[in-house]
Amino acid sequence: MTQTDAFRETGEDRLLRLLASGWIFLLLVGLIAIFSLLRPAQFGSGYNIQQLAINAAIILVLAVGQTYVIISNGIDLSIGSVLVFCSVVSAEIMLALSGAAGTTFGTTSAGWGVILLGSLAAVATGIAWGLLNGFLVAVAKIPALIVTLGTLGMALGGAQILSGGTDVRAMPELLVTHVGSGRIFGIPALVMIAVLVVLVAGLVLHFTRFGLHTYAVGSNMEGARRSGIDVTRQTMAVYALSGGMAGIAAVMSNARFATTTINGHAMDNLTTISAVVLGGTSLFGGVGSVFGTVVGVFIPIILLNGFVILGIPPFWQTVAMGAVLILAVWIDQLKRRLRKRG
């Protein structure tokens, strides 16, 4: 066998690789198959599938950012709070620009220009929080767990200060009807945004230099530094990306619920972390994929939906998810141990 032959993957290799990383995908397919067989009319209905996708959309965008952070061997606990902060900033800017500052509920007649500015402000605010996280982690060398726990509190508190503690309930009518519950080519706009984000983030992670450097920094930071990669810049960029995703998710959340949701995102960090880990991304960094995260986001959503349709008390979903999460991390560690030995 010559060297060039060794560069081609044999069918057996590929099967092994898919089985090792694909069991969680098989679990998802299995869940869908079981629920569709048991309740084809309800579970498989177009309406139900759409609702599932809409429920997943916002978490999916957040989880994509979390995937980058965890692959780079970091963690971002602040994303839910950053989302809330961005949504308040965005909502108040849109209110002020449409000359209705202080309105407490209802819809405003703000035009697309105002909505665009509000959305850009949300994303920019998210990136700013992300840069702060990245700076504290990469330059000040404070552990990511502590940094993002700190900014979690700061962003949430900041949102409450800005809004006086009550949600901003007045959103532009156009945003709510066209983005929140609107459709593009028959597909809910929120789902469309999430699909776009997932596609672009997946392409960047798996096919570009930026993505490769994210893996390298998570795999061996010192090695990456000695290979000439600007580790500080890369780390800051990854946290900024996560913050930017929280900004996009903030716009989606405002559009969907027609209000800011200050108290609605406390669990987003844990939900996204467990989705990312379920999807085969290693908490030790260096390994992971956006596709895995998509699967990891859908498993709890499908599980909850299926339980509700089957009439099983939905509380069981929480129990099942906890077990699946522990199983996922256990399998990841087994894989690493096997790999070391092989």
């Binding site: 060297q3 560069f7 993957e9 230099r209 490769l212 998570g218 061996n220 090695g223 990456a224």
Partner: protein, 254 residues
């Protein structure tokens, strides 16, 4: 006689009260394997760090191809064609060999896609296959993370990476310290191939028989001084040990 690629004269380095290097003269000729040996504390690591840009000398001069050089960082030494493989290898364990070879110097697709940072994986895989073939590194698979390779293969990937980017000199810091007999032989064979491809090798080692077998020239350090400069044919393991333990500066012929 050809001119040395690297010539260091009178290198000194002090840490507090400890004089780690007291005027070391060291040179590397084109296309040779120089073994750098010495007891613990003889100054091998300090010298290598200075020559590869990881540390600065207090005194003395370094010339690369006859022109004085001063390395402020390992990156500057790398730019001058000098790379070091440390014992920790500095590979990204989760990435495949080709990605590791090109880490920090990735090939991008031509045109707009490349502008956007799109990697040209095919080019990188083909090029690294060629490098591995030239150097005689045989890897079972090129798709798996380097973490799944054996210790010798990981070492080979790290050496291949250094040789690929350093056209002048590769420093190998105890490359076989953690390896078994067969893997050690492979790594030494690789060092010879690197030399034959035109890049000189500086081999830091504790293993005397190994040094006698593979090196073209042996440079002995003792207590921060150069004490011997020998051809393997002129000496034996006993002779080397004698130089390491009781050699003096007077016995050194540059």
């Amino acid at each position: 006689m050809p001119e040395p690629i690297l010539q260091a004269t009178g290198i000194t380095r002090t840490f507090g009260h400890v004089q780690a290097l007291r005027g070391v003269d060291f040179k590397v000729m084109p296309g040779e394997i120089v073994a750098l040996i010495g007891d613990n504390g003889a100054g091998k690591s300090t010298l290598v760090k200075i020559l590869s840009g990881a540390d600065r000398a207090d005194g003395g001069e370094i010339r690369i191809d006859g022109t004085p050089a001063r390395f402020g960082s390992p990156a500057e030494a790398q730019a001058a064609g000098i790379a070091t493989v440390y014992q920790d290898l500095a590979l990204a364990p989760d990435l495949p060999p080709a990605e590791n070879l090109f880490l920090g110097r990735e090939r991008l697709k031509p045109g707009l896609l490349g502008r956007l940072g799109m990697l040209d994986r095919q080019a990188m895989r083909a090029e690294s296959a060629k490098v591995f073939e030239t150097l005689g590194v045989n890897l079972k698979s090129h798709r798996v993370p380097v973490d799944t390779l054996s210790g010798g293969q990981r070492q080979s990937v790290a050496i291949a990476r250094a040789a690929m980017w350093a056209e002048k000199i590769v420093f190998l810091d105890e490359p076989t310290a953690a390896l078994g007999v067969v893997q050690t032989a492979r790594v030494l064979e690789l060092a010879k191939r690197v030399r034959d491809s035109g890049t000189s090798v500086v081999l830091i080692s504790h293993n005397m028989p190994q040094v006698l077998e593979v090196a073209d020239r042996i440079h002995v350090l003792r207590l921060g001084e150069s004490v011997a400069n020998l051809r393997p044919a002129e000496t034996t393991v006993d002779g080397l040990v004698r130089e390491m333990t009781s050699g003096t500066r007077e016995g050194f012929t540059p």
